[in-house]
């Protein structure tokens, strides 16, 4: 452990935190712009050209706003909860590599903050901690709406974490490692010189489950149950104002970026892309583009689908996603064994069987929803 290494870690951590926080600010602008365009509006365009100063205006407004603490709130936890929510959202991406090693001015620079051999496990555990912040903020506000929002959020996040974890498992199985760098390395190369060896090709249904479960994990529409405005005024952050509210808001959007980065790494090839082995600086560019595309997808889904009912959300999580993702883990394992023992071309079993199972699941959901007694309930 030399001094230079410590400096390198500090600089990388600082830069990445800044990227996340700046990204959060501009993600709000991006979301408002995209939503506006999808609704035939223009979106914020008054603060600076194309509204690029809007996040700064929002930040200044939030900083100068009065901070209220409800009289009967648990003051310590009420103050602590936003912090507990923000910190996991920022540190969760520490294991995500955003490029291969780079030789910069004769200095060997690794473009990741931490390289742990259980990177995926780290992500899962940090994601679970994020629930605490939300349930504590809901509980400590001493407000029934906030309480309901916090409880819903906990139930939802815990339920969908299982499906999320199982969709991670298929990526882990395919790569044969829990280390993020190994997972990225396993996705390098091409089939037939055209199709990239990304896990989204091998496990399309697993990727779909990941994308659905992440929407529920970060409380985004159509699973934004904890903050269902029409039912719960604002859910767990009803009583929050000023900078504390900004922290909760920041956590939500930082989690969106983080989960997009994780998804890009696990299923969309991470920093892999054409010519990345020759020009290592292309790695960060590729992962950035992939993150932007995934974020656009999240916003797109929000603009399109209405919020689903709470009982159906739970039913979908437990009765559809959980069995389906368990089946996918089984299929992936069988496919890998077949490819190893019989013929490496049999890896094609994984996507085909997965799509078959997913088709069966869709047909069953469709039949259930068409049943008259279910529709009336």
């Amino acid at each position: 452990m030399n001094f230079l290494l410590v400096v390198e870690w500090l600089v990388k951590g600082f830069v990445w935190a800044l990227v996340l926080l700046g990204g959060f600010a501009y993600l709000t602008l991006f979301e408002r712009k995209v939503l506006a365009r999808m609704q035939s509006r223009i979106g914020p365009n008054r603060a600076g050209p194309w509204g690029i100063l809007q996040p700064i205006a929002d930040a200044v407004k939030l900083i100068f706003k009065e901070e209220l603490t409800p009289a009967n709130a648990d003051k310590l936890i009420f103050t602590l909860a936003p912090v507990i929510t923000v910190v996991p959202a920022i540190i969760i991406t520490a294991v995500v590599p955003w490029g291969p090693s780079l030789d910069l001015f004769g200095y060997h620079l690794n473009l990741y903050i931490a390289d742990i051999n259980v990177g995926v496990l780290y992500i899962m555990s940090i994601a679970s901690i994020a629930v605490y912040g939300i349930v504590l903020s809901g509980w400590s506000s001493n407000n029934k709406y906030a309480m309901m929002g916090g409880l819903r959020s906990t139930a939802q996040m815990i339920s969908y974490e299982i499906a999320l974890g199982l969709s991670f498992v298929s990526a882990i199985l395919l790569a044969g490692s829990m280390r993020m760098l190994d997972i990225v390395a396993a996705q390098g190369g091409y089939w037939f010189h055209i199709i990239p060896k990304w896990f989204v090709v091998l496990q399309p249904v697993g990727t779909a489950i990941f994308l659905i479960a992440t929407l529920a994990e970060v409380n985004r529409a159509p699973f934004d149950m904890p903050e269902a405005e029409q039912e719960l005024t604002a859910g767990y952050h009803t009583e929050y104002s000023g900078m504390k509210f900004a922290l909760l808001f920041m956590a939500e959007y930082t989690k969106m970026i983080a989960i997009s980065a994780i998804g890009a790494t696990l299923f969309f090839g991470g920093f892999n892309g054409p010519f990345v082995d020759r020009f290592p600086w292309l790695g960060p560019v590729y992962i950035f583009v992939k993150i932007i595309i995934l974020l656009f997808g999240m916003i797109w889904v929000r603009a399109t689908f209405p919020r689903i009912r709470y009982d159906r959300l739970m039913a979908f999580g437990w009765k559809v996603l959980l069995p389906l993702s368990l089946a996918l883990v089984f299929i992936t394992a069988v496919g890998i064994i077949l490819a190893q023992q019989v013929n490496s071309r049999l890896i094609a079993v994984i996507p085909l069987a997965s799509l078959l199972v997913a088709g069966v699941a869709v047909a069953m959901i469709d039949r259930t929803l068409r049943r008259k007694d279910y529709a009336r309930r």
Binding site: S40, R41, T304, D366
Partner: protein, 170 residues
């Protein structure tokens, strides 16, 4: 057994929102860009003039009588040929409309015998003080047309004796 249709339905929803992204936004950038109002729009009142520059208003205060909100105040004075504001005997020396009271019903327009008061197309009527809500005659009267002279005019005696003009199709 429907397997493809539910997925297609979801994709159709997504396709609709994506297509709308490339539609022209319907937003009007208001202070810079203003949409023209309809022909029968009832905006702020305008006091009209004849082509020669004389005011149409003769100070009869029928508009004030017709006003259901009691927003109009008119005080009239005598015209002379030396100092003529409008045809006929009298003109409005004071003409005030309280825009806080006005309900833009247009009854004043209907009551006016000389078609002097017209509800125009101006709708930006914001003010920051209650006193500013009273619009005096100077704000309401339209500018002098190019063919006319400003009031008061010095006119030949015996020409402008009729206060209500002869109308072709009243």
């Amino acid at each position: 057994m429907r397997v493809v249709e539910p997925v297609v339905e979801l994709a159709r929803g997504l396709w609709t929102t994506l297509r709308m992204m490339f539609d022209k936004p319907v937003t009007v950038q208001y202070p810079e860009e203003k949409k023209p109002v309809k022909a029968r729009f009832r905006g702020r009142h305008v006091l009209k003039r004849y082509d020669n520059g004389l005011e149409k208003c003769i100070g009869c205060a029928l508009c004030a009588a017709a006003c259901p909100a009691d927003a109009i105040f008119v005080e009239s004075s005598e015209n002379t040929d030396e100092e003529r504001y409008s045809p006929g005997d009298r003109y409005a020396s004071t003409y005030e409309i309280n825009m806080l009271r006005c309900i833009f019903c247009g009854f004043c327009e209907d009551a006016c015998p000389t078609e002097a008061i017209v509800l125009g197309d101006q709708y930006e009527l914001s003010f920051t003080d209650r006193r500013q809500s009273i619009y005096p005659k100077e704000m309401l009267i339209e500018p002098v047309p190019a063919s006319g002279k400003p009031t008061p005019q010095k006119t030949e005696p015996g020409v402008y004796t009729r206060s209500v003009p002869e109308m072709k199709d009243p």
